[in-house]
């Protein structure tokens, strides 16, 4: 069970009250995250562990960007497991993906 909530603190700090800059960052996040999520699901369907680990690795910075520090560790551990052909942690990671997806729909 994930106990933290995503936020835009990092993006706000980066944009420094420049609304256009903030909107650009949010737009890119909203566009790119679903694409990466789909790539992850495709790799999952193929049980391609190498690709899965790469997919999770690619998503990790976005988890950080959204202020999800504990979840970043969860993703990190999951990536490590995937590199060892082990799916342990996929349920928590799935919950994380859903949490982020839901959040992105609200911004």
């Amino acid at each position: 069970m994930i106990s933290e909530q995503p936020n835009l603190n990092y993006i706000d700090q980066l944009a420094r009250e420049d609304e256009a800059a903030k909107q650009l960052l949010v737009d890119v996040l909203k566009n790119e995250f679903p694409e990466e999520q789909n790539e992850y699901y495709e790799s999952f369907a193929q049980k391609d562990f190498k690709k899965l680990a790469a997919n999770v690795h690619r998503m990790k910075p976005k988890i950080s960007i959204l202020g999800l520090e504990k979840s970043y560790k969860l993703a990190n551990d999951y990536e490590h497991n995937l590199k060892n052909n082990n799916l342990e942690g996929f349920e928590d990671f799935e919950e994380l993906l859903q949490l982020i997806s839901s959040f992105l729909k609200t911004i």
């Binding site: 700090q13 980066l14 650009l24 960052l25 790469a54 690795h57 990790k60 910075p61 950080s64």
Partner: protein, 237 residues
Amino acid sequence: MNCILIDDEKMARTIVQTLCNSFDDLTVVEEFSSAIQAIKFLNEHEVDLIFLDIHMPDFSGLDFIKSLKNPPKIILTTSDPQFAIEAFEYECVIDYLLKPIQLPRFEKAIAKVQNSGSKKPKIKEAKSEKEPSIQNDFYVNIDRRLIKIDLASIYLIEAKGDYIHIKTEDKNYVVHSTLKKIEDKLPSSLFLKVHRSFIINVKKIIDIEDNSVLIKKDVVPVSRSNRPELMKRLDLL
């Protein structure tokens, strides 16, 4: 300073672009989602600084650095701390930023770049100093006869034991020599050692697949360490 961004993630490039916008003297002239695209750009343009991701599909950031003869200053941007020690072995690497990059840390990295002066990395410079004068042919000793071989006709040289097999457009030669000796006689603009046992004429390549190249009917292995140089040379063709 003119800089380029290389990262397969659009979000990462947008963040660095936003950070760069905080500096009046930092201009992002181009951004690339792959290092191979960037190599083409760098063959025609000079930049002062590269923000470079390490983990990218096909061609990693560190492979990219190895492929550059005279790299500009580089700031690595990655979510993986494990390459830091290796990264700083390259003189061109000024700093190593972990994602998500914070503005104060970014400012520090830019200050490092500004204070690093005109320190020029020396990767591969030694090789260019040894560049032989360009010649069109050379002689090989086969059964006490000196036979002239036109360099441009050679497409493959393979080491086999104490001999090397020189394959040309119309004839093959077996010569008692070493790959190292013949490598020193060949113009590096035309030939490249792609494996410890193989030198190829890069202009004769038909195609490349994973870790091998097809030249005429020969499939030649390409070692991992030589692949970046091969990719770079292809861009020049």
